[in-house]
């Protein structure tokens, strides 16, 4: 859709493709300059934080999973952590190991989906991976096989890949059997090879030269690459725990998309693979670091187009890490520890595949929820995505509308936005 005036050009895409959820983009060019660049999110609001009020403290792991079919484990892990924090319960390391294993499954599945089915077609000028399979079926099959291994982990540990049923406060309903774990090991070995090939292949793609220059926010943990635990750090060396989230991060409703966009003390920032990688390179496994070096990536990568390589490196890491957890596995004494309710407030933060997911709950003494707050990765990345669009679009003004919108869509897909996630508190009417 385009309207051209003498000095005013509006380019819009009403329905973004190959993103999770419903979004639109809008660029307005006035007098040869990009005046506005908007990622509009028109997913209808679903009011999760509202209907969580009055629900029981045991319910958010299942209920909030329904915010996003692509990253339900992230919602289960952030909510468990927040509620266990509110109840003052420590979960044993053996249970954390299984949670991390489950989360590795989600990283592998979500990243493989994005790399092969959503992102790769952009580098090859194709509409989708189905077209890609016509010329390179083996490549797409490799991607699907990798994706399936992630789903296998979630099916065995979680009962099913989408909205797993086995997660509860304090741990799990049932522990995996030795046979199930052996099966996983046998699936992961060949997958590691496929993941390394994926890094190699993604590094051969053509990347525009672009340093996004955003502030970076990621979790950090002294001993491991951040997935399910840690505190928050920025590229400017700020550090804060999950409990200080609202002291650092402010959510603002902006009129053009009525989005509650997140800002870090007034600054837009980037969360997700690029931020994690650039702030935690040293904690990747030796194999993942080796793959990164072989791909020609430094210890820091802030080119959003290259996020496809970083995701591939994180897949190598997640498989490597899943294999380590399985090797060192010691069954917990019980599938779950008790989490008795108490009045209080708790915070939980984890690294969803596409960025940080923060949960906060306030409970009464009977464990009924009095207040819930959820900040999704895409709500945080939306200002950075729009800033990229505005900067990059300045170089595209000579392009025809079709090409220009294709480029703009691509700039958005770099961030693997999950619009379904953000929509429980973002909305705008299509128009």
């Amino acid at each position: 859709m385009t309207h051209k005036g003498a000095s005013d050009r509006l380019v819009a895409v009403d329905e973004l493709a190959r993103v999770e959820g419903e979004g639109a983009l809008r660029l307005r060019v006035v007098d040869g300059e990009v005046a506005e660049a908007e990622l509009n999110i028109y997913e209808p609001p679903r009011y999760f934080e509202a209907f969580l009020v009055g629900r029981k403290y045991t319910e958010p792991p299942d209920i909030t999973a329904r915010i996003c079919g692509i990253c339900p484990v992230a919602y289960q892990m952030s909510s468990c952590q927040a509620i266990e924090d509110a109840c003052g319960v420590q979960v044993p390391e053996t249970i954390w190991a299984l949670r991390r294993l489950l989360y590795c499954g989600e990283w592998i599945e979500s990243h493989a989906l994005h790399i092969y089915l959503l992102h790769a077609p952009d580098f090859l000028g194709l509409p989708d991976a189905i077209e890609l399979a016509k010329t390179n079926r083996e490549l797409v099959e490799t991607g699907l096989a990798l994706k399936k291994v992630g789903n296998d982990i979630m099916e065995i540990l979680g009962g099913r890949a989408i909205h797993p049923v086995n997660v509860r406060l304090g741990g799990f309903y049932r522990l995996p059997t030795p046979e199930e774990l052996e099966h996983l090991k046998s699936m992961l070995r060949p997958a590691l090879d496929q993941a390394l090939k994926t890094v190699e292949w993604t590094s051969t793609l053509d990347f525009p030269d672009y340093d996004c220059g955003h502030e970076l926010l990621a979790m950090s943990h002294p001993d491991t690459y951040p997935i399910e635990r840690g505190h928050l750090i920025t590229a400017s060396r700020e550090e804060f725990p999950a409990s200080a989230w609202n002291d650092f991060i402010e959510s603002v409703q902006v009129p053009h998309s009525t989005a509650l966009q997140a800002f870090l003390r007034g600054r837009r920032y980037l969360s997700g693979p690029l931020a994690r990688y650039s702030l935690n390179y040293a904690n990747l496994s030796p194999l993942a670091r080796q793959a990164a070096r072989a791909a020609g990536l430094g210890e820091r990568c802030v080119n959003p187009f290259q996020s496809i390589i970083v995701r591939a490196i994180e897949v190598v890491y997640a498989i490597d890490e899943a294999m380590r957890i399985l090797e060192e596995y010691e069954p917990p004494r019980r599938p779950a520890v008790d989490v008795p309710p108490r009045a209080g407030e708790g915070h939980g933060v984890t690294e969803a595949p596409r960025g940080i997911l923060y949960h906060r709950y306030k409970l009464d003494e009977n464990g009924l929820i009095q207040q819930a707050q959820i900040v999704s990765p895409t709500a945080q990345n939306q200002p950075a995505i729009e800033a990229d669009l505005k900067t990059l679009a300045a170089d595209w003004l000579d392009l025809e509308d079709g090409e220009l919108t294709a480029e703009a869509e691509r700039a958005i897909r770099n961030y693997d936005p999950c619009i379904s996630c953000s929509a429980h508190f973002l909305t705008v009417e299509r128009g």
Partner: protein, 261 residues
């Protein structure tokens, strides 16, 4: 004759049910060979005009724009299949049907005046005719594949009837209710998942919605005997299929009994 045409549409939902199609890793390329995908924004930039032989519709109708859009899709579609709890009963977001929408909006949004929500969240069948329904939050992959292959061959899909209890028996899973271990909605919940939760030592939480012959009233005393208070039972009935008429009615009666008492 060309290939049958397929479209996948999203309304108010989490994307999980359409992701189930992409989760058919072993079958996806074969499906793509067998049909022409005309509209599936999660997977392709290609967007071809109707008509569509088959439309898979995910999500519930919760805004005025959605109520208009589903009508246009129905007009252009041969076989319309509603997929998942949102599309078949309204989904988790239908919990707001039991509450005050204005208050909900005020809780989350500084500027509720920007919002456009219908008063009631509704399943697809409340707005247009639906040919088949796949239940579940999310739908079951095997059922989706079975449905697609039946439609491609021009026969009626064979969708499960009966309750989750049947599937527990088929799998040899001991009954959590009989053993008094866990509250379970299996007796009133539509079969189709393969009794996943009971096989993980967890009571069924009803994500496939009520079965045709479900009698929630008969299950409520069983749940009470396991120690559940009435508000707990109401919450258990009101989750992913809260607005399914049988569950909504049972929950309302239980809540009403409380209010009177």
């Amino acid at each position: 004759m060309g290939k049958p045409t397929l479209a996948v549409w999203k309304f108010t939902s989490c994307d999980g049910c359409q992701l189930t199609l992409l989760d058919c890793e072993d079958e996806l390329l074969a499906i793509a060979d067998a049909v022409q995908i005309k509209h599936f924004p999660e997977a392709t930039r290609k967007d071809l005009p109707g008509p569509f032989d088959v439309s898979l519709v995910e999500g519930s109708i919760s805004t005025p724009a959605e109520a208009e859009r589903i009508k246009r899709i129905r007009e252009e579609t041969g076989t319309l299949v509603a997929i998942g709890a949102c599309a078949t009963s309204g989904g988790i977001q239908a919990l707001r049907n039991f509450a005050d929408l204005d208050e909900f909006q005020r809780i989350i949004y500084p500027h509720p005046e920007f919002l456009h929500s219908l008063e009631q969240v509704a399943p697809i069948a409340a707005h247009v005719d639906v040919d088949y329904e796949l239940r579940g939050c999310p739908i079951d992959k095997r059922q989706l594949l079975g449905l697609l292959s039946a439609l491609l061959k021009g026969r009626r899909p064979d969708l499960p009837k009966g309750a989750v209890c049947n599937e527990c028996k088929q799998r040899g899973v001991n009954c959590l209710l009989v053993e008094g271990k866990e509250p379970c909605l299996g007796p009133i919940t539509q079969a189709g998942c393969g009794a996943i939760c009971p096989s993980y030592n967890r009571g069924c939480y009803g994500c496939f919605g009520p079965s045709d012959s479900a009698q929630p009233e008969a299950l409520i005393p069983v749940l009470s005997r396991l120690g559940l208070a009435d508000p707990d039972i109401v919450r258990m009935l009101r989750t992913y299929n809260a607005a399914a008429p049988k569950l909504a009615a049972a929950g309302d009666r239980l809540e009403g009994a409380h209010d009177d008492a």
